[in-house]
């Protein structure tokens, strides 16, 4: 079913909307949640939260791209659950290594927990940074840091060696570091 028709169902408050969105984007969201949580059952619960959030937010929201909208919902729910699980020290997630890798872009000694970075300021910088990256490097970067895929899986999906993937990610992080420094962020 086309996204516009699914949105119509949401706006008509038809529960068929949930059935259709599950059928169309269930796998996509499941992969995102499972990548973050590394647990099938947790990911399943996370997906239920995702569909509920979609139901509660559409309307009033009218997403331009339904896939990324529910994908982001799933990602946020999974990251929230990850934080709760980390607090309970359950561990086993792929998030921590990813955060550690991104920390390279920020000087750890200068991490200011209390500093509030406006996401609205950072988002366009990241967007431009991604736009300047070669397509292949951008795909690898987002697969690692947006979809939280393992290096092995990224290499498999892109028909590359794992070391080539790691090298590309390292170069992209270095480039991001330069961009952030240029924009005045403490790095």
């Amino acid at each position: 079913m086309e996204d516009s028709k699914i949105l119509d169902l949401f706006f008509a408050r038809s529960e068929e909307a949930i059935t259709q969105i599950k059928a169309k984007y269930g796998n996509y969201c499941r992969v995102i949640a499972e990548n973050i949580l590394q647990n099938h059952e947790d990911a399943k619960e996370c997906l239920n939260d995702t569909w509920l959030s979609a139901w509660n937010t559409i309307p009033p929201k009218h997403p331009q791209v339904l896939a990324t909208y529910v994908g982001k919902l799933a990602r946020n729910h999974a990251l929230d659950r990850y934080r709760r699980d980390t607090a309970k020290k359950r561990g086993g997630s792929r998030v921590e290594p990813v955060i550690e890798e991104l920390e390279d872009c920020i000087a750890s000694s200068r991490l200011l927990e209390e500093e509030v970075v406006d996401r609205n300021t950072l988002a366009p910088i990241l967007d431009r940074f991604l736009g300047d990256l070669p397509r292949n490097a951008r795909v690898l970067f987002l697969q690692r840091y947006w979809y939280l895929m393992s290096v092995k899986e990224i290499a498999r999906q892109n028909n590359m060696g794992q070391s080539a993937v790691k090298m590309s990610l390292l170069r992209s992080r270095e480039a991001l570091k330069q961009v952030l420094r240029k924009e005045g962020f403490e790095v």
């Binding site: 955060i99 950072l122 967007d127 991604l130 403490e186």
Partner: protein, 259 residues
Amino acid sequence: MKRETILMTLNDVSDAYILEAAPKTKVRSFRGKLTRAVAAAACLCLVLSGAYGATVYAHPASYISLDVNPSIELSLNRWSRVIGVTAYNEEAKAICDRLDLKHKFYTDAVEKVLCDEEFRTYCTQDGKGDLTITIVSDDSLQLREGIEECETYSEHAADFHYADWETAQLAHENECSIGKYAAYEELKKYDAEVSLEDCNEMTMHELHEEIDRHHNGSHDGENELHDSAEESHIPETEHASSAGQHSETKEETTHHGHH
């Protein structure tokens, strides 16, 4: 900047970039599920039919017992392929060890046995090599016709006998070939003291001689013996009707040299 800030802010980048990097998901469509289910069912059917086929293939549907002095028994499946070869004495063992009979079509297997030099020697020793072919089958006549069409069959003076499944079972329980066990049962009608061990030590020629001797000795006025012979498991055709008929047929076949 909080540790997770970049990770979280990436949520706000262009949808196009996010979609561009979307991982290939394994779509578990209904059609895919159906295909897998059908494939699994087909595999299961294949395995079951294979197992059933193997069971049926290995299940004996007929027996052909070739007895002279050597006693060789062929077990056939429903497709008349040899699935078992049993040698009931040393002479038979020597022959069976030499011949590769398993999985052959029964006529080829019988032909091989009949062609074997040693087997032929037993069949032709001074006219005392009675070859008895005993068939246990629901389709005995067809098996017989097949054997009669064997190239070397005409060189042998063979008697055909038919036995039932009960006789076959009793023979196997007593580790005896069906042909010899049927002859033992026949002889026992005349001589209650004869044992299976005694019969096992006799050639088919000797057994037939004994049966004929008893039969001829008691032929006059002993109709009850005749009647009881009619109830025997062995006889159905030549040998079947009576011991007398068996002897007559034998003489006839021996006289003509060919059956």
